[in-house]
Symmetry: C2
Subunit: 342 residues, 2 copies
């Protein structure tokens, strides 16, 4: 699957446009960079208004039996009902930023087949315990990736021009930490965090779980990291990102799990990262390290650690404002303002 090219020529034209707007050159800081970034990726000096779509992928994790999470796996299915009913954080934030939202069961342990308002694409009911066995079989891995790809294609066909993947999956910070360690060669102590809020004892179990999973999978080539250590929802996110980059649609990353999925796509093809912006850095200690490995600088630091796509949705208005300024501001010439730079 190819990766769309970024048009650097358009980026330069967009920068020239910025330099004529009624403000000291560069005074809008990162907002100027963001507008030019979108210009290059839309292939338009004046980029279109953003039509964001958020897709939340849900799956469970066998490793939860090792005591790595503050919440039981049953919460994943319960939260799916909450998403369908519109009561979760991501429902509110999607509405605030004008994004469409879809929720996908790609691997939830509970039977939620009767639930309306979500996409049913369950590959299997949760992963294997990565301490003892691969997270999923080869075909399950590719099927989960395919679920994500299909969701991206659907969103793009419906007009989305910026894509956010969120997730829900009790235990998925453990799987993500394992993926990040495997792909960055960082030590588990540097990457493993407190997830939804575990105590010291559970934290030690979590570090140990990641270390044992890495040892078990150590002879596996890194392109199989997701199959060995990942999650069904994380594989779907990676597929979602891959399709977005293939079709040339910008991606706004969310938190720690999102960064793990992004690192997996970077192992597939590093050019995919050229389609990504980092929305925020979370409280999960390995998140900044993962973003650094991706070469991405987050926009926000709001001390969040929720997932669901919440950090990305929260930061969307910054992108929307960046593009609105680029589109709407007067130039020095049109407004009759003296330009100190000339």
């Amino acid at each position: 699957m190819s990766v769309a090219k970024v048009d650097i020529g358009v980026q330069e034209k967009a920068r020239k446009h910025q330099d004529h707007l009624t403000k000291p050159q560069g005074s809008l800081g990162r907002l100027e960079d963001i507008a030019c970034w979108f210009a290059a990726r839309q292939g338009k000096t004046i980029p279109d208004i953003l039509q964001p779509h958020i897709c939340v992928f849900a799956g469970d994790h066998g490793v939860v039996e090792a005591g790595v999470s503050a919440f039981p796996s049953v919460v994943t299915g319960e939260m799916l009902k909450n998403f369908a009913a519109g009561g979760a954080a991501i429902n509110i934030l999607a509405k605030q930023c004008g994004a469409t939202l879809s929720v996908v069961d790609v691997g939830v342990q509970a039977d939620v087949s009767g639930l309306k308002g979500i996409v049913h694409a369950k590959v299997r009911a949760g992963t294997g315990n990565i301490i003892k066995e691969p997270a999923m079989k080869e075909w399950e891995y590719w099927q989960a990736v395919g679920v994500g790809k299909a969701q991206a294609e659907l969103a793009i066909a419906n007009g989305a021009n910026v894509l956010i993947a969120g997730e829900m999956g009790i235990g998925n910070t453990t799987a993500s930490a394992a993926l990040i360690c495997e792909l960055t060669l960082l030590a588990p102590e540097k990457v493993v965090g407190r997830g939804t809020g575990i105590d010291d004892a559970a934290y030690d179990l979590k570090v140990s779980a990641v270390r044992r999973a890495l040892q078990r999978a150590q002879m596996t080539p890194s392109k199989y990291a997701m199959r060995e250590l990942g999650g069904l929802e994380i594989a779907a996110m990676a597929g979602f990102y891959r399709a977005a980059a293939h079709f040339g649609v910008p991606i706004l990353l969310d938190g720690f799990i999102s960064a793990a999925a992004a690192l997996v796509t970077a192992a597939w093809d590093a050019r995919i990262v050229g389609w990504m912006l980092a929305s925020h850095v979370s409280q999960e200690q390995g998140h900044m390290l993962a973003l650094q490995a991706l070469g991405l600088e987050p926009l926000l630091d709001m001390h969040m650690r929720l997932g669901e796509g919440s950090g990305a949705a929260l930061s969307l208005p910054l992108l929307q404002s960046a593009i609105a300024l680029h589109r709407g501001m007067a130039s020095f010439e049109s407004a009759g303002v003296s330009n100190g730079n000339d």
Copy 2:
């Protein structure tokens, strides 16, 4: 003029409300704090949706004759026309966040009396050169403060429940640096920045101008700092903040000049700061120091240095999202989700 009290009891009730929402406790980070902060200030466990008003105060600075700015004073008046025509950054950003906007001539050098769509409240046509003389006379100072107060009262009467003061004034980073040095006892080298983008030679002139102004005014009590070193638009901002705190309406600070005005109000009555949130930290090097002196932590760092209220307007959606989450999310009980914290 008294300062409204903050209801800490309501803040605690709001925190309890947060702890029942369908997310791990604390996982929304600063968004939770913001919602509870507004709850305490509105006196409502579930705070009302924000109705923001932005007031941009414009004035000129005699010190520009010392070569401290990259732009000539004429730009202040030209930008006022741009504001009136809707072409400036703050026009776009106000629209993006749903804020009403007013623009006030409190001390512009140019004659803009024929300009429609702005408030005409000129106290004098620019300040004196603070290197050689007080910025303004005693009565001019109080009149400018009164202009700001009146604008806050009007906005509150029109239903605003969060207030932003922006500014336009070539030379006002010099005046603000002088005020911040005077009120924090920091050295000019630490506080003076590049403003709209001056070169090294102009930077040296700017540091020297601030040092000379401080020497000239050194026997003046700090409550007269604004009169000696400030600006007409900065005095109006301070009056605007003072009235907001008196009527119990939260204030969202903008950039460097806004922080200088806030420090002046803190010298009047430290409790006024209890009504303030810091929206962003700018590229102006003294801004973070001024925020630290106020005890405020900025929400955003977008490398901006524009003024006009732009950083505050940009960050408003974060506050709006914080309150929407607080108002709209389901509780563990109502959604039937297991709470790992119980």
